[in-house]
Symmetry: C2
Subunit: 194 residues, 2 copies
Amino acid sequence: MSLRWALIALLTGRPMTGYDISKSFSTSVAHVWHAPDSQIYPELNRMERDGLLNSVEVPWGKKGTKKEYHVTDEGLAEFREWMESPLVPQRQRDPAYLKAAYFDFADPAAVREQLRQQQVYWEEHLAMLERTRASLVDRSHPTLAARLEKLDEREAELAVRCKVYAYDGLISRARTELAWIEDGFTLVDELHSC
Amino acid sequence: MSLRWALIALLTGRPMTGYDISKSFSTSVAHVWHAPDSQIYPELNRMERDGLLNSVEVPWGKKGTKKEYHVTDEGLAEFREWMESPLVPQRQRDPAYLKAAYFDFADPAAVREQLRQQQVYWEEHLAMLERTRASLVDRSHPTLAARLEKLDEREAELAVRCKVYAYDGLISRARTELAWIEDGFTLVDELHSC
DNA sequence: GCCAACTCACTATATAGATAGATAGTTTAT
DNA sequence: ATAAACTATCTATCTATATAGTGAGTTGGC
């Protein structure tokens, strides 16, 4: 259900087509909420049906058209309502922790290999988050830049700070994962040696 | 799909009925993998059909019977195979970070209220994790204790260390969330004052 | 003797999400 | 000229998960 709010969030920045959205998802909102285009297109249709968005047909090339979605007042109102409604606490459901609890069932070499893979994944993820954070701070991030055009300096500063705050959270989460993975290597060494 | 492996993991400790499982889920595996009984019962049936488990009818009272599930050799083999297969990296999908990125859309008082609620939730969650960790270290945790009975001291030590390692990860994750929430309060104060 | 609380197992329904593919137009490099 | 790559939108199918219920047996307290 948060997909709906992720889409509105993105569209408050500037009107976009489904295709635009599925592209910018991968470089912005996807860091907090991933979705494939097969979820995005139907959801946009439902949101238009529910009056949260309206769409404008825009010509594309000679024969083609594309649909540009705009957030309606009702859409914005419902987004604010969601923003101010309490968060339902997330259930824990992470295969990495499930596996870790039963590392004694697996071959130490296989565990080490998995830890290495996880380490690579989280290091790359962290690097990406830090690059994105930097592009938010210097306002070069395209999605953010489009949003800021409509705002005065004070509002822009607030928007940037919130985005940076979210990324700071993701960054410290990634660092915590990496530290835990480091401890995993130590654990396997100990298991093996005793 | 990890539900299947969470169930086998639990059943390697001791044979259990679906009801036993849905109860002990909430005090052990649920910290890493939550599932309601309406998912557990059908999955146990499927796992029996697939030969990962077999069930023994056990009398219960005068007329009643209950089904006790045992892990088969095939089940254990497939569990080990999963344990040694690479983890598919999880997509980020967390409403808390999505909201945080758009705090500037919400009323500061509403944001503070949500941060407080999150803080309470994570503090309670952290306290529960620390209690559970302690009960693993002193081996008083019932699910763990049942498992350890079958093991020699060296194996038991390994099993305990792995569980503690998993909980240490969950605990540092919870602490990271709490630190981020603290920063959230600071952010809202700043937004409000400028 | 009876009610409440618990044990046990399952079903029904709806939504969310993952994966894959269908279809049609456009742009660009060779 | 044409193939490759990209833009655009949508469908089909399957699995996962959540929520809510059904129904039958058991145990313990008063």
